[in-house]
C-alpha cells in the first residue's frame, strides 16, 4: 500500500516526516539504555564519574571486564545460567513435544481427559506460597532440579507443537508404522525432524525464559550459593547498591558515609554484568526474530 502512484500531498509529506521521526525516536528509546550501559562498562571508572559516557566511552578501557574475570562467583554463576538454560531447554522441549505427539494419537485411552488435565494448568495455579510449601516438601529447596522440573511441561508449548503435528500429512507416519516402527522411533525419526520450525520457536521461548529467570533462584535456592545464576548475581549487586545508597542518604556522620561509600560495588562492575547478562539475547536475537513471530501466529489460532 506504500507504493502509491498518487501525487503526494503536503499533509502526507508532513505526516511521513513526523512518522519517521517518531518511529526512529521510539527505537532509540528502546536501544539507548543498552548503549549507555555498554559505554559505561567500557569506560574508566574515575573518568566516567567525572565525564558521563553519554554517547561514547570516556577513557576507553577493558579494565571492568578484566576485573569481572577475577570477580568471585562470576564464572560459577555464568556456568549455572548456561547449565540451567541448556538442561531446562532440552528436557522441556523433549517432554512437551513427545507429549504433544502422544496426544495426537486417537488410539490413546483417555486421551481427551488427559489432554484437558494438562491444559487446565494454564488457567489455574496453586500460587506462590502453596507451591513453595510443596517444593519444600519434595526436598527441592536448594536443589538444581527446582530450576528444571516445575516448568518442564508447559501446556502452552505443548499445544503449539500438537497443533503443528496435526497439520502434517498422516501418511508420512503410516508408511513408517507399516515398516514396523514403534511410536518412539516414529517420533524421533519422522515427527520431530518435521516439526523443526515450531520446535525452534519453542526452543527460543524456553531458552530465553530459563536464561532470564531469577525469581526461582531468589525464593528456592537463595541459600545455596553454588546455584546462583548470572541474573541473580546481578540482582544481588543491584540490591546491595540500592540498600547502601539508602543508608548513605540517612547517614548522619561523615564516617558512616565513607564506610557506606567504600562498600558499594563499583558502578562499572554492575554495568559490565548487565552487558554480559544481556549479551546472549543480543547475539541470538537475529535467529530468534525469525521464529518468534511464527510462534505468535500459531498461538493465535491454537485449539
Amino acid at each position: 500500500m506504500n507504493k502509491n502512484k498518487m501525487k503526494v500531498s503536503t499533509s502526507r509529506k508532513v505526516f511521513l516526516v513526523f512518522d519517521y521521526c517518531l518511529m526512529i525516536l521510539l527505537a532509540l528509546i528502546c536501544i539507548y539504555p543498552f548503549w549507555y550501559v555498554l559505554c559505561y562498562s567500557l569506560s574508566d571508572t574515575t573518568a566516567a564519574s567525572v565525564n558521563t559516557p553519554v554517547f561514547l566511552p570516556s577513557g576507553f578501557t577493558l579494565s571492568n571486564y578484566k576485573e569481572i574475570l577475577t570477580l568471585k562467583g562470576f564464572f560459577p554463576a555464568l556456568l549455572m545460567s548456561l547449565l540451567r538454560t541448556v538442561v531446562g531447554t532440552i528436557t522441556s522441549v523433549f517432554c512437551c513435544s513427545f507429549l504433544a505427539y502422544l496426544f495426537t494419537k486417537d488410539k490413546m485411552p483417555g486421551r481427551k481427559i488427559l489432554y484437558r488435565f494438562v491444559v487446565f494448568t494454564m488457567y489455574i495455579s496453586g500460587g506462590m506460597i502453596a507451591t513453595y510449601i510443596v517444593m519444600k516438601s519434595y526436598g527441592l529447596l536448594n536443589s538444581f532440579w527446582v530450576y528444571i522440573l516445575p516448568s518442564m511441561i508447559s501446556a502452552y508449548n505443548m499445544i503449539l507443537i500438537k497443533t503443528y503435528i496435526e497439520q502434517l500429512p498422516p501418511e508420512l507416519e503410516e508408511s513408517a508404522s507399516l515398516d514396523g516402527a514403534g511410536y518412539i522411533t516414529c517420533f524421533f525419526k519422522i515427527i520431530f525432524p518435521l516439526c523443526k520450525p515450531i520446535i525452534a520457536t519453542v526452543v527460543v521461548f524456553v531458552a530465553v525464559g530459563q536464561w532470564n529467570s531469577w525469581f526461582d533462584n531468589h525464593i528456592y535456592t537463595r541459600a545455596n550459593e553454588s546455584l546462583t545464576t548470572l541474573q541473580y548475581l546481578l540482582y544481588n549487586y543491584l540490591n546491595e547498591a540500592q540498600r547502601l545508597a539508602e543508608q548513605l542518604k540517612t547517614a548522619s556522620s561523615g564516617a558512616d558515609m565513607t564506610k557506606a561509600m567504600a562498600s558499594i560495588s563499583p558502578k562499572g562492575i554492575r554495568m559490565t554484568i548487565t552487558v554480559l547478562a544481556s549479551l546472549p539475547i543480543f547475539a541470538l536475537y537475529p535467529f530468534m526474530q525469525k521464529y518468534f513471530s511464527k510462534g505468535i501466529m500459531v498461538g493465535a489460532v491454537k485449539g
Binding site: 490413546m108 506462590m128 513453595y132 496435526e166 498422516p170 508404522s177 540482582y235 545508597a245 539508602e246 536475537y285
Partner: protein, 304 residues
Amino acid sequence: MNRKRGFVKSGSKDYKLLWMAIPFITIVFLFSYVPIFGWIYSFFDYVPGVSIFDCDFVGLEYFKLILKDNNVLRALKNTFVFAIINICLTPLPMLLAILLNELRNGPVKKFVQTFTTLPNFISWVIIFSLATALFASDGIITMLAVKLGLGDASNSLLGSNEAVYWFQSFLVQWKTLGWNSIIYMAAIAGIDQEQYEAARVDGAGHFKCAIHVTLPAMMETFVVLFILNIGNFLNTGYEQYLLFKNSLTAPNIEVLDLYTYRIGLQNMDYSYGVAISVVKSIVSITLVLAANMVAKKIRGKAVI
C-alpha cells in the same frame, strides 16, 4: 482436527500410548496440581515442619482476616490503578502497528521493528539495572533533569512513591510495546490489497484508508486482547514490583501478588499467604472465564 491419526488398525485402543504418557502426566500432577491441593493450608494454622494433621484447624479464620486487613485494601487499590493504566494503554500497540506500517519497507522499518521488539526478551533484573543506570539519583537522566532545572538529585524516580504508577507502567510499555504490535502487524499483512484499491478508487487518502480499512481489520484482535487484559488484571506477577520496591516506593508499588509474597515468604505466615492467593485465584479464574465468554460472543469462537 478430527482427522484420524494413529496407526492403521484404528478402532482399538493402544495402552502403550497411555503408559508412555504417564510419566509426563505425573510431572504435571506433582508440580501443578499438588500445589492447588496445598490450598488446604489456608484452613489450618500451618507451622513449617509440622505435618498438616498435627496443625490446628482454624476454618475460615484466615479468610475473615483478609476482610479486616487494610494492607489488602491498599494492595488491591494499587493493583487496580496499574490495571486501569494498563487497560487505557491497550490501543498503543495497535497505533504503533499503523504508524510502522506507513513506513516504506526498508532498513528504517526493519531497524525500528527490531529494536522495539528486543526489550521483550530482556529480563526484569536487567531492566532494573538499566533503570538504575538512567534514573537513580546518580543516573544519567536524573542528572540531565537536574541540569535543566527539572528536578533535584535527592528525589530520583526510583525512589519516588508518587511516580510509581506511571513510571512502572512506562517500563512495561517500554518492554512490551513492540512485541505486542507484532500481532497487529500480522493482521495488517492479512488485509486484502484490493480493499485499499477500492477505497482509493472511492477517493480515500492514506488517512482515510487507515481509518476505514486498516483499523477495522485489527478491531477483532484488539477487542479480544482488551477483554483478556481485563480478565487478567489481578495477575500482575511479582518480578517487576519486587525489584522496584524499596522503602520509599513500598506503599504504592505493593500489588496483591507482591503482598502475598511478603506475607508468605518474608513474614513466613504461610497460611494467611495461601488464603489470600486462594481468594485471588478464584476471583481471577472467574474473571478470565467471564472474559473468555464475552470474547467468544464477539469472535464467534473461544479464545482459550
